[in-house]
Amino acid sequence: MAARRKGAAGRYGLGILLLLGLWAVAAQLADSPTLPGPAAVAAAIVSESAGGQLPYHLGMTLWRVAAAFLLALSIGTAIGVVMGRSRPLDDLLGPWLLLTLNVPALVVIILAYVWMGLTEAAAITAVSINKIPNVVVTVRQGALAADEKLFDMARVYRMGRYETLRHVLIPQLQPYLLAASRTGLSLIWKIVLVVELLGRSDGVGFQMHLFFQLFDITRLLAYTLAFVAVAQLIEMAVLVPVETHAGRWRVARSDA
């Protein structure tokens, strides 16, 4: 088991090295300011970090991602559960869902800025609204698939509403919530950048806009890579442990 994991980590590292090598060769061949090599980009990451620029903008972006993520996940989960558990409400909210699923992210962002002004609240609202329908669809599916027999058991034994939610429904939604979190994070990252590019004066998206105007591809890539690294870190430091903890009863099964 440990050996297999070690092998997997080795191959993973090899994959990264291959990518870097390919990139270095391509940059060498292109020999152009529009494709800087890994070394130049790494140097840019270091200098931008030392100046405090990169951590500041990355921090702003991160907080927007976190705020929009929590908002979208909690609202989307609530709506998804309601739609999955109640046929009439599912019918009623169906058209809303269809509409929000199909309105382009850009339109939502523009409308939010026009209606709410170029504010932080508008930015976060716009990102959340873009993500909520995806969470709703995933969680509704989970609520629909939930085992009625366990709800019957909870009713016969008079478990309260809150307890039923906590011990019977939420554990059944857990894989769906994790899926929504995963796709949610990657989607929100991307939309936050657009929101920043269009209407904020800080954050990675704002910097991208600046670098585009300056044609500074080195720093553009430096910010991108820092951003990707942070996203991966969150996956490993938050999502994977949460998944392992929530699935511990399944691990118990494979031991038996």
Binding site: V156, R158, E163, V168, W249, A252, D255
Partner: protein, 257 residues
Amino acid sequence: MPAAGASPVLTLDIREKRFASTAGGEVVAIRDLAFHVGRGESVALFGPSGCGKTTTLNIVAGLDRRFEGTLAFPASAAGGPALGCVFQEPRLLPWRTLERNVELVLPPARRGTGIAAGWLERMGLAEAAGRFPEAVSVGMQRRAALARAFAVEPELLLLDEPFVSLDQALAARLRRLLAETLGRTPDDRPCAVLLVTHDLREAIELADRILFLSPAPARVLTEVVVPGRRGERGEREIEAFRRALLDRAEPVFRAIG
């Protein structure tokens, strides 16, 4: 047997229960099914599969309120009786340990008092209390479901073919455990039982009274009082009474034979 005049734990009178059929239209599952369960009495509903036994149990459990007729618990406080229920499957929460599973059905005030652990121990599950349901054997899951049902100190215990789909030896062992546990409930808080089964031996072993139901729409065809004290009937007595029932002339008994 219940004291004469004491109000029964359960009185049920289903005039009609219909289901929407898959072909469109409606099917009558139960018609004119009426019976009562006395305080501390054990009643078995015995009938062919698909005759509406489980539907009846769901109605008693309050899971299905869409029927014509009356359901009453005359001996209980306004909130209804404390119900214990053992379903056809254990229905444990896979993501909670056995002990948490038992603990969660207790009222908050009675949690953390060792009640759950005590019942698991009485079911021979002291060692397994901290394990998850899917990590223990099927028999242990069933015993945990029994522990859960007894932990709420039920006035009425509902058993829906509790040992169906188990191998004979295991089913027999669990039945004995159930009978013993029922025998040990305190006299001042007796536990009445409503058992649904299509196993005649199970009905004879666990019940004071057996109601024979017709094929759907279900109604009571006849009723038999089981001789001897519940829990004290030996293998041979059970088998002898079963033979005697099968030898009786009424068509209902010939049908089961």
